[in-house]
Symmetry: C2
Subunit: 218 residues, 2 copies
């Protein structure tokens, strides 16, 4: 802690102002158009030149570092709320609903959670931490006998990928459609209804390989 690079001199007043405007614009633009939105659009919306943008945030990832961890912290809150629910199944479903609602309200967050772009160490750590508690939510629901026993933490990325696309396609026109899709999914995750699975969960190395892949998509 206190590892912050200490600024020998504080930022000049106009620089602080521009930095704030850039951050605000970036939140908006990434939220609307996703993490691959053109940086020039951010500069334009901040009413600042592209040079100034690069002065404050030398890479796209610098924006991510400044924006995403704060957003991802919501995950922890959602997971904590889920643990606070006395009903383990309701906790589990509430967690997923909260998670996807988050993705639904911010296209950039959706990209981040579906790992559509390479993310920095810092952002990955935030993400990881957000899902730390989620492990407990899943475990508790399994132990209570409501969540199917063969569901594993490593299946969560499948859900996130799946829902991220549903959200992305339907948000503009049918903002609730993803909830219907999630309902189908959840009905398939109940222990009572579970049929044996023919395919094992992904191995951690497989997940890592996908995450580290620099080329998104294929």
């Amino acid at each position: 802690m206190a590892l912050q690079a200490r600024p020998a001199r504080p930022l000049r007043a106009d620089a602080v102002r521009n930095r704030d405007r850039l951050l605000a614009a970036a939140k908006q633009v990434f939220g609307e158009r996703g993490l691959d939105a053109p940086l020039e659009e951010i500069a334009r919306r901040a009413e600042v030149s592209i040079g100034t943008l690069y002065n404050h945030f030398p890479t796209r990832e610098a924006f991510f570092d400044a924006i995403l961890p704060e957003r991802l912290a919501a995950l922890e809150r959602i997971a904590a709320a889920a643990m606070a629910d006395p009903d383990p199944w309701r906790g589990f479903t509430g967690f997923l609903e909260g998670l996807f609602a988050l993705q639904a309200e911010d296209q950039g967050l959706n990209d981040a959670m579906a790992r559509r772009l390479p993310l920095s160490e810092g952002v990955l750590a935030s993400c990881h931490q957000g899902f730390e508690l989620a492990g407990q939510v899943v475990e508790r629901a399994k132990e209570s006998g409501t969540l199917r026993a063969d569901f594993e933490m490593r299946d969560l990325p499948l859900l996130v990928w799946a829902m991220s696309q549903v959200i992305r396609e339907s948000m503009g026109v049918a903002p609730q459609a993803w909830r219907r899709c999630l309902s189908f999914f959840l009905d398939g995750l109940r222990a009572e209804t579970a049929r044996p699975l023919s395919v094992p969960a992904m191995a951690d190395e497989q997940l890592d390989a996908i995450r580290l892949r620099t080329t998104p998509g294929s």
Copy 2:
């Protein structure tokens, strides 16, 4: 029928050869990299100049028209096979498995079915026809009491979007992972396990709006 634009003169021999090479290359490239792959890559792989490519296929969509309908015809075969299965539920699940297996083996087809790009009338018609029979598969499964009664044809796009992303992300590293995801889904589509849904299916107009949207993604 016999509406084919009749070529006043047949194509010259070298032109036929180049056209074939281009089509073969396009199938490969779209299959590997998706429908938005650079056309120059296709020309390169066909060992033909970019000018020749544009001579034979003046737009990207011209490639789609030449490639996709044939591929989409497989949908009909899959649906027909599903109807041939005496067990309506097995027919239904078999149809979905076949559909997604198709998406899994061709990134371009995946893009087309998830409507990641605007498609021409002709391709849309093929797509539509492919899903014509699918309606019967769904109806039969519902009538038999195995598929939940509140599942509707218009929910199918949700599944396709969801699975398309799972397939896209996991194919390279865990080529079977999508089957696991589908199993969860299918267990949620059985009538016995169905809980009431809180959200109605999308309206046709909503689906159309999404399909006609020119800007893919957001």
